[in-house]
């Protein structure tokens, strides 16, 4: 009897193999250390979409990269070689993405980026199997520069940490900002005391300050700026004003303008349902990182509905079509597989006891990126 049922099972398995193959996703993201808040949000957003889709042919393996490039590379190797994943995703930081993505796509795996968008992968180093669901790194900064023009700012003081993404940030702002610069500063990465910089801002005669200081650096800067009595308007990208950080900054962030491709008040049914279900599931408001994780999973699920992962060309075309309901509303990929999207300007407000953002303007419409022209694929 046993033998017969085993044979039956084997036969069933053979029949099963002719149907669509299961999709196995490897998620490498930052779940411990200083940057864990971002990775946790991406993971939670992604898993929420997976859970809502309720598909049993989708399996997700999640590993923590500890924000270390060498560990991310090891994890990617392990996932590709022994876990045999079809799709990789999850990386938060650009330096980790640069270490993992080119090797993974060269081995024929798909990579869907829920956050990092370093410029080489958008331009010369673009790859047919690489899709960025979030933004190219410069995008939010470019929108801030455009917004500064729209509001008549003429003279900005700009600062960012002294590392590649910091330089990209200021380059992005300057690419669109038409006014003059009364000062440009690069601070140490991880710096927590900005007294010297704030004194220079006070003395500079600028009419506005643009800063890119992600994570704890931004919290420190905002609190110290508020205590200093300098009251020039601040503009920054959403990274210093996401839902996880705002509560730690408190009143010091009120009224600050920041740019983002997503906010919880974007008016469409998908977004409203996402915000509600995220809150119900995890007991906190989603951040832009969570929204990116959610969109990434829904993009993947939409492609699974259209094509078999075993047929790479068909699956790639299904991903490129981006036929899913994005929390951002309209969503389309450009020729370099990076989003073409609206980037909004938000203002920090207080709703009851919770600090959050509200959209007040559109910074750039249907915006692509500066590197798309260099991409040949």
């Amino acid at each position: 009897m046993k033998l017969r049922s085993a044979a039956l099972a084997a036969a069933m398995a053979l029949v099963g193999a002719t149907a669509q193959a299961d999709v196995k996703v490897g998620m490498i993201t930052t779940l411990s250390g200083g940057g864990a808040g971002l990775g946790i949000d991406v993971r939670d957003g992604f898993m929420l979409a997976v859970q809502q889709a309720g598909r049993d042919d989708l399996e997700v393996v999640i590993e923590d990269d500890q924000r270390k490039p060498d560990i991310a590379v090891q994890l990617a190797d392990k996932m590709i070689q022994s876990e045999k994943v079809d799709v990789l995703t999850g990386i938060i930081w650009s330096n980790l993405a640069m270490a993992v993505v080119p090797a993974a796509t060269a081995q024929g795996k798909f990579y869907l980026s829920p956050n990092a968008g370093p410029s080489p992968l958008a331009g010369k180093g673009c790859h047919p199997n690489y899709f960025n669901v979030a933004w190219q790194n410069d995008n939010l900064h470019e929108a801030a520069g455009a917004y500064a023009n729209d509001t008549g700012l003429k003279n900005s003081f700009i600062l960012a940490p002294n590392y590649p993404a910091g330089k990209d940030a200021l380059t992005g702002y300057k690419r669109f900002f038409e006014g003059a610069l009364s000062g440009e500063l690069y601070t140490k990465l991880g710096q927590t005391d900005y007294a010297a910089e704030i004194a220079q801002i006070r003395a500079s005669g600028a009419d506005s300050v643009y800063f890119f200081l992600p994570g704890g650096m931004g919290i420190s800067f905002l609190k110290q700026y508020a205590a200093s009595g300098v009251d020039l308007p601040l503009v920054g990208p959403a990274f210093s004003f996401d839902q996880g950080i705002l509560q730690a900054v408190g009143d010091a962030a009120m009224g600050v303008k920041n740019t983002s491709q997503w906010n919880k008040d974007i008016d469409n049914a998908t977004n409203a349902a996402f915000v509600d279900s995220f809150q119900a599931e995890y007991g906190r408001l989603p951040s832009l990182y969570a929204s990116q994780g959610f969109d990434t999973a829904n993009l993947l699920i939409s492609a699974m509905g259209k094509a078999d992962i075993a047929d790479a060309d068909a699956f790639r075309a299904a991903l490129k079509a981006a036929d899913f309901d994005s929390v951002r509303g309209e969503f389309a990929f450009g020729d370099n597989h990076h989003p073409v999207q609206d980037i909004y300007v938000r203002e920090v407000i207080k709703e009851g006891d919770v600090y959050t953002n509200k959209i007040i303007a559109t910074g750039l419409s249907n915006h692509s990126d500066a590197y798309a022209g260099d991409c040949k694929m």
Binding site: G33, N162, E184, L185, G216, A227, G229
Partner: protein, 305 residues
């Protein structure tokens, strides 16, 4: 640069230096008296900041928050001294580094487990929010001014404790010859626990003071720990006076370097190059200072040969 801006930047350097002193005083004592390299000193700084943030959130009182930071860090310090550190005094430095590095990981993940991965909120007390106008028309944040005053008071207190009290005599004797003072009937184990808890309390206090103007998050202690090691190497390991002078030197050098170097390079380079060369060099400046001091004083400024 105007004189006023220069004075303001000197104050910033002083404030940074005073904060570093609170952090390095404990580190240098522990190294000097027990011969122990304690990498987990930054974790005690973090514990102080988290205790302060939790108490401030619960009670709304900043004074209570500061007291909680002292108590929590001292308690954590005493606890790890009694259970773990005590077993490391006779081991070589590599074992100590390994064990205290493990403590960093344990404290970081433990804190995350208790408080979550998102930064906590700790604000300056309303009384000290905003700037005050100093003589000469400099607007300076009231809270930073208070850090300078508190830090200097703690420094005076530490000098008094080390140089004028019986405990201080024992600590100095312990530094000079620990077998001898044990033979003279001083309970060396108790003295070690006290010194360790004292250093921990100072680190926790610094964490709480600084947490109010920075971000209270897991891993906040490690960058400061590196600076504190630079300070005690410059000042001479084991010397409180050295830690004070070293902390102020590092504070001034770092602040003025960040301000002046890009401007100096601006005299003969184009602006964008000057900014990037200047900031790159500014972030190395304190290490250059340390190397320079070590060339002339291999044991630091006040190190005993």
């Amino acid at each position: 640069m105007t004189t006023l801006l220069f004075i303001e930047q000197m104050l910033n350097g002083l404030q940074f230096g005073v904060m570093l002193f609170l952090m390095s005083a404990g580190l240098t004592l522990v190294f000097g008296v027990m011969g122990l390299i304690n990498l987990a000193h930054g974790s005690l700084y973090m514990i102080g900041a988290f205790a302060a943030a939790a108490v401030a959130a619960a009670t709304g009182s900043f004074v209570l928050a500061l007291m909680a930071s002292l108590a929590a860090a001292a308690l954590a310090g005493a606890l790890i001294e009694l259970t773990i550190i005590r077993r490391l005094y006779d081991r070589d430095h590599l074992d100590q580094v390994l064990a205290t590095f493990a403590l960093i990981l344990i404290f970081s993940e433990g804190t995350r487990w208790l408080f979550g991965s998102f930064p906590l909120f700790l604000d300056v007390p309303p009384l000290l929010a905003g700037p005050v106008t100093l003589p000469g028309g400099i607007e300076y944040p009231a809270y930073r001014l208070s850090i300078i005053v508190i830090g200097l008071l703690v420094a005076v207190g530490m000098f008094g404790l080390i140089n004028r009290t019986r405990v201080g005599i024992r600590i100095r004797a312990g530094e000079a010859d620990r077998e001898m003072i044990a033979a003279l009937g001083v309970d060396i184990a108790k003295l070690y626990t006290f010194v360790f808890a004292l250093g921990a309390a100072l680190a926790g206090f610094a964490g709480a003071l600084v947490g109010a103007i920075q971000s209270v998050q897991v891993g906040m202690g490690e960058p400061v720990l590196i600076l504190a090691f630079v300070v005690i190497v410059i000042g001479g390991i084991g010397s409180i006076k050295g830690a004070f002078v070293g902390a102020l030197l590092v504070g001034f050098t770092d602040t003025m370097g960040r301000v002046l170097l890009p401007q100096v390079f601006g005299l003969f380079l184009e602006p964008s190059a000057a900014v990037s060369v200047g900031s790159a060099l500014a972030s190395m400046l304190i290490y250059i200072l340390m190397a320079g001091v070590l060339v002339f004083r291999p044991r630091g400024l006040y190190g005993v040969a």
